[in-house]
């Protein structure tokens, strides 16, 4: 059913040049990966091997394997991660056939990566504990003392999502003042309302679901997925003032052992059909402008994108997070509980 | 100090009966020895006195007090274990002080007492040593000091010398005796070494298979053994199966059962021989110690002189052991090493005399009678 895709290079002649195996590193998890593995293998009879782990871990791993790359494709990570990898010379440039259908912000200027989906960050809440009317409508409302000990946050240092949210909060004022202090103050107040920093997302979900806390901030597709697929009592609010929208992308690893097959996979997973499957089954909002018939939750939702210079994020992000970690996060948080 | 009374005591472990109907009285200040082969119940009895085992039946008294179920820490006995059981993590001083500390003796008194005890066992210069740095003999003396310093009423010693070599044993034996006499303490000594038992004890109890066979002074035990087990366990002995022919006022006439033509022996009628015969004891033997037999070069006048031939000669230092074949019975004869070397030799024809006073008629209780 994907035969209509003429760009993917699925013709017989090309196929003969492809390597017989491809290695994918991806944080997308078993469900997505197995699905695309089967489909891709059906189409090309190329053996797909994948390793799923956190995006930050992928960066680390690709870095340690620099002298002896194991992966061909890196699928899924915020663009900031890709930019870092690009700077470290870990990626190979590739301009896909669908390059025309990508907006400016959805690809690297030199085509070291391209975006596959966009991830808006949202305020998420437990719909059993809170009604739609009560919940904060914007970031600043989270600081209201009435939410004290109601907020559970995923420990941000190891999480791309949380880093993005926290960095955006600083960036909102930083872009005018060139001073992160105001943002730090904001985060300090958030810290005062925060009940706990969870070591990993599952823990955070579990705690919010069971009502240990009722609010969190997280990525929209995940919230939808939990609600729809896993029966979690979750709902979300898109902050009125605007929210950072992460671009998740794909890239080919520099020195990949199976470059041709990698390109085939690269094309394959961002074909309109694939994008549609991802949107419908896995709640990912496509980057391509030429995907039609998207589900309602995408078309109905009005997202106000925060205007962000991702280069500043990349440049300052580590420093800000380090500052937060060392100076803002109250040390007794975990002991207190 | 105290006397100990063991009344009708039985001790069973599951189905094995380790001690059966034991009655003993140990007098105040006495040096009393339990003697017997391995597994005969010596340790069990000692541990009942110390309180580590409770008798299955019967009563243990110290003086008149019933102690049967008093826990060990309340008995005020001092025990020296076979392996000394010194506390390896303490110094010599601390080991000896342990019992005093438990008794909350004030620290000034304590020091004096401990050093005094160490002086008594001649270890005053070793008080700061770790016990592992002591030789076996020194360790044993620490164990003794530790037991004595609490001034126990009763001192219990479980084969304290069995790990030592011969020289050290001799020394320690003297040491223990000296200390016991000094402290005048009621002492029970467990051993399976008969020489040790004979040389040290006031009285001895001889055990076998949980039964006490004889209680008496060393000389009584040695010279008037109650039966063939006691006789052969205590030193070497010649046991001759005999049949009683006639009983007279002074003497008893018996014949040797040796398959040949019967040989007549005259046995002095000690007090208990008559009783034995009256009790119609079937299994009787005549016993004589190897050192009591005289070897003669020529036939002399006298009773019980028999002709024989030397089978083998073994040299043991002070004693020479001569085996003499007399009418197909092998007699062991011990003579002092006062003759010239080569005086006795294999094949030499000699006469042996079995003095009638040294011959004793005793009951045979063991299955493999001689």
């Amino acid at each position: 059913d994907t035969k209509t895709n003429s760009n993917a290079g699925g013709t017989k002649e090309e196929k003969s040049e492809l390597e017989d195996k491809i290695v994918v590193y991806s944080p997308h998890g078993k469900d997505i990966l197995s699905k695309f593995e089967t489909q891709f293998e059906e189409k090309y009879s190329i053996d797909v091997e994948w390793l799923d782990m956190g995006s930050q871990e992928i960066l680390d791993r690709v870095r340690s394997e620099k002298t002896n790359p194991q992966a061909d494709v890196w699928w899924g990570a915020p663009s900031t991660n890709f930019n870092q990898a690009k700077d470290d010379g870990l990626l190979a440039a590739y301009q896909p056939t669908y390059s025309d259908s990508l907006d400016e912000g959805f690809h690297d200027p030199e085509w070291y990566w391209t975006g596959t989906s966009q991830t808006p960050e949202v305020i998420m809440y437990n719909s059993k504990e809170l009604s739609k009317g009560e919940v904060p409508k914007d970031w600043d409302e989270l600081l209201d003392p009435k939410w004290k000990d109601e907020i559970i946050i995923r420990y941000p240092l190891a999480s791309g999502t949380m880093r993005t949210i926290f960095s955006s909060m600083i960036y909102r004022t930083y872009k005018d003042t060139n001073d992160p202090q105001e943002g730090y103050d904001w985060l300090t107040k958030l810290d005062q309302n925060t009940k706990e920093y969870s070591a990993n997302p599952e823990m955070m979900y579990n705690k919010v679901a069971k009502g240990e806390g009722s609010l969190s901030v997280w990525a929209m597709p995940d919230v939808v997925m939990l609600k729809e697929n896993k029966n979690y009592p979750f709902e979300f609010v898109i902050p009125e003032s605007g929210t950072p929208v992460l671009t998740e992308g794909i890239a080919i690893v520099e020195g990949a052992k199976h470059p041709k097959a990698a390109e085939a996979f690269y094309e394959f997973v961002n074909s309109p059909e694939a994008a549609k499957i991802l949107a419908e089954e896995f709640y990912r909002i496509p980057t391509r402008s030429d995907v039609t018939d998207l589900p309602e939750w995408i078309t109905e939702t009005d997202i106000k994108t925060m205007d962000i210079d991702w280069d500043v994020f990349q440049e300052k992000g580590d420093e800000w997070m380090k500052y937060w970690d060392e100076n803002i996060k109250s040390g007794d948080k975990e002991i207190k509980e | 100090m105290a006397s100990i009374k063991i009344e009708n005591v039985q001790k069973a472990f599951g189905k094995t009966i380790a001690i059966d109907h034991l009655n003993l009285e140990i007098k105040d200040g006495e040096f009393f020895t339990f003697l017997g082969p391995s597994g005969c119940g010596k340790t069990t009895t000692l541990r009942m006195i110390a309180g580590f085992y409770y008798p299955t039946k019967g009563v243990v008294r110290f003086g008149d007090k019933d102690m049967t179920r008093v826990p060990p820490e309340k008995r005020n006995t001092g025990m020296v274990f076979q392996n000394y059981a010194l506390f390896p993590h303490m110094t010599v001083f601390e080991n000896v002080a342990f019992g005093l500390r438990v008794r909350k003796v004030s620290s000034s008194d304590l020091k004096g007492k401990v050093l005094d005890a160490l002086r008594k066992v001649r270890l005053e210069n070793y008080s700061d040593r770790q016990v592992s740095q002591l030789s076996g003999g020194q360790q044993q003396r620490v164990a003794l000091a530790r037991a004595l310093v609490i001034e126990p009423e009763i001192l219990l010693l479980d084969e304290p010398l069995s790990n030592l070599d011969a020289k050290l044993r001799d020394e320690m034996r003297a040491e223990i005796l000296r200390l016991q006499r000094d402290y005048k303490i009621t002492t029970i000594y467990v051993t399976h070494d008969q020489a040790e038992a004979l040389s040290m004890s006031d009285r001895i109890a001889v055990f076998n298979f949980g039964v006490c066979h004889q209680v008496g002074t060393p000389a009584e035990i040695y010279n008037q053994p109650a039966n063939d087990f006691v006789a052969s366990f205590i030193g070497e002995i010649n046991l001759l199966s005999v049949q009683v022919k006639s009983v007279q006022q002074e003497n008893i006439v018996v014949t040797l059962e040796n398959g040949e033509e019967p040989v007549k022996l005259i046995v002095h009628n000690h007090t208990n021989e008559g009783e034995l015969i009256q009790q119609n004891e079937k299994n009787l033997a005549v016993s004589i110690r190897p050192e009591a037999i005289r070897i003669l070069d020529t036939v002399e006048k006298g009773t019980n002189i028999l002709k024989g031939k030397i089978e083998s000669v073994q040299f043991f230092g002070s004693v020479v052991n001569v085996m003499v074949d007399v009418h197909n019975v092998l007699l062991r004869v011990d003579v002092l090493n006062t003759h010239e070397f080569g005086y006795f030799y294999q094949g030499k024809e000699v006469y042996v005399q079995l003095p009638e006073k040294q011959l004793r008629l005793i009951p045979v209780i063991s299955g493999d009678a001689p």
């Binding site: 390793l51 680390d60 059993k128 705690k207 896993k230 060392e326 | 019992g99 438990v102 016990v131």
Partner: protein, 562 residues
């Protein structure tokens, strides 16, 4: 000439031992140390300076937290392990042997799932606190674990086994006459215990403390899952590495190693200060029969309750594995039970691959441990040579190094070709994980082998040679068969730990060798709690089967390994 011959033999045996130790223990550690000296392209102690003078003191805080948690873990484990060992080895009561075996069950609990099980059991929304709350109609849950208390409880639960095992062994070796002597001198039960029994257990307690301290210093899963933002050094290393700050990670590793090694040396010194060797010959312990019936029932009940508590996490995992995903989210108690998770797992054609990988790698690593352990231990115990204590320390180092550091060391050493990897890059290949497992378990196997070899009288070997046997024949036919049972119990423990190994796996696994623990972690990451638990159950079953078979058919007891 024979003298030379013997020396030559020693040298021949020593060469492989030294090579392995240098290549896979010393060299990687030095590589890490070298890495830590690099700052901004030049070599200096700058990173160490940063570590200590850093304004926010986060590193110092992490260091302090690690030490603090480790010390508390030692205390907590000791408080559980020592009394249990004493009860089960000193008193005879019905079911004693069952309880004493059940007491080692925490070692079959996979670390990751184990921690999750604790959360589900004792967390704020956990089963036990909520059950109590509902039972007594409380407003709030009466207690919950999390953060430091959570880490401590998990540590105490998983690590008391080390105290239990070493103290059990030691208590059986105490000559009962020592205690009797104390009673005889008038001491009561309490005095006898504190003045005699307890001091004599010192070597065992020291050894166990050492082990627990080092394992908690290195502990990864518990703080990783439980501690939120609580900083401990082993996590800092992981995060530094994830952040790409390799030099910082190396510096932190070196400092963590230094703390652990200092503790090791301190404990060795402490233990050698006094003499605990009992002079007596081997008289077996006799258990006092509990005479008082009340006492007996108290013991039995304590035993049963203890074992139930010990088994609760296992049951929780079983429970979780039976609850389909998405049916236990906001509900206090699960309501739906079926085998859906198992069905999902077994539908995946690749389900057995991680199992196979784990088993295969554990077998490879453990075999290597066995061969290396026997040779190294033989050389250390039975041969004389210069530099023995150096080799001895090298052997112990993998114990002093946290698993994360071992992983780091191997990465630094083998992500470029070196002579020790025969010119290959090992990182990213199948072999790196078996190597890591091997390195981690060197001390375990060597130590348990040392114990049996030390008991083996030299005259046995001499007797064989006197009868005309050459050394190798003697070794094969006499020494090896005698020490094998002891050696195998250490090896079995190493095998079990390899099967469930997580901290080095997470740093080093690749596609070709992904082990069970990583598979479980990935299931967790995709919030498939149920399938993760099902996987955990499979792992537990596997280990229990191995334990059972080796015990039943070969008489090897893992609990005797220490």
């Amino acid at each position: 000439m024979i003298k030379n011959r013997d020396t030559r033999l020693t040298i021949w045996l020593l060469i492989p031992v030294v090579l392995v130790l240098v290549a896979y223990v010393l060299y990687p550690s030095l590589r890490t140390f070298f890495e830590s000296l690099q700052k901004d392209g030049s070599i200096s102690f700058g990173n160490y300076q940063d570590f200590f003078v850093q304004e926010s003191k986060t590193n110092l805080e992490a260091l302090w937290n690690s030490v603090y948690i480790s010390i508390l873990s030692v205390l907590a484990s000791a408080l559980i392990g020592i009394p249990l060992a004493i009860i089960f080895n000193r008193y005879d009561f019905p079911g004693r042997s069952f309880f004493s075996t059940a007491a080692i069950l925490p070692i079959v609990l996979p670390s990751l799932v184990g921690v999750m099980a604790f959360m589900f059991l004792y967390g704020e929304s956990g089963l036990i606190p909520n059950a109590i709350k509902d039972l007594f109609g409380l407003d709030k849950v009466p207690f919950k674990i999390g953060g430091v208390s959570g880490i401590l409880i998990v540590h105490a639960y998983t690590m008391y086994v080390y105290f239990y095992m070493t103290v059990s062994a030691a208590i059986n070796k105490i000559d009962p006459s020592l205690e009797e002597a104390a009673y005889n001198l008038g001491a009561n039960k309490f005095k006898v215990f504190w003045k005699v029994t307890f001091p004599l257990l010192t070597p065992a307690i020291v050894a166990a403390s050492l082990l627990v301290f080092m394992i908690s210093m290195a502990s990864f899963s518990a703080p990783f899952l439980l501690a939120g933002g609580y900083r401990v050094l082993s996590l800092q290393i992981y995060f530094s590495k994830i952040n790409g700050d390799m030099e910082i990670a190396a510096t932190q590793s070196v400092i963590l190693s230094i703390v652990s090694i200092s503790f090791l040396l301190f404990m060795r010194w402490y233990q050698n200060r006094k003499d605990y060797r009992m002079a007596s010959k081997g008289i077996g312990a006799h258990r006092s029969e509990v005479k008082n019936p009340l006492m007996k029932w108290v013991m039995v009940v304590t035993g049963i309750i203890g074992v139930l508590i010990l088994l609760l996490p296992h049951f929780t995992i079983l429970l979780l594995s039976l609850v389909p995903d998405g049916t236990w989210t906001f509900q206090t108690y699960p309501t739906v039970f079926n085998v859906e998770n198992y069905r999902l797992l077994f539908e995946d054609p690749n389900i057995f691959k991680p199992l196979r990988n784990s088993l295969l790698m554990a077998v490879i690593a453990t075999l290597a441990n066995l061969v290396f352990g026997v040779i190294a231990s033989y050389v250390l115990v039975k041969r004389k040579f210069i530099g023995k204590s150096f080799i001895d320390i090298l052997v112990m180092i993998p114990w002093a190094l946290p698993a994360t550091v071992i992983g780091m060391n191997l990465i630094f050493a083998f992500n470029e070709p070196s002579v020790f990897s025969f010119g290959q890059i090992l990182v990213g290949t199948f072999w790196i994980l078996p190597l890591a497992y091997f390195v981690r378990h060197i001390p375990l196997v060597v130590r348990s082998t040392n114990a049996v070899l030390e008991q083996l009288d030299d005259s046995i070997e001499e007797a064989a040679r006197n009868l005309g046997a050459k050394w190798f024949y003697t070794f094969r036919k006499v020494i090896l068969p005698i020490i094998m049972p002891g050696v195998l119990s250490g090896t079995l423990l190493a095998f079990i730990e390899s099967v469930g190994e997580f901290p080095t796996s997470v740093l080093l696994y690749t596609i070709s060798n992904r082990p069970i623990s990583i598979e479980i972690m990935n299931q967790l990451r995709m919030f498939n709690m149920g399938q993760a638990a099902a996987y955990g159950m499979i792992q537990i079953t596997l280990i229990v089967i191995v334990l059972f078979i080796s015990n039943k058919f070969f008489g090897i007891k893992a609990e005797k390994a220490l």
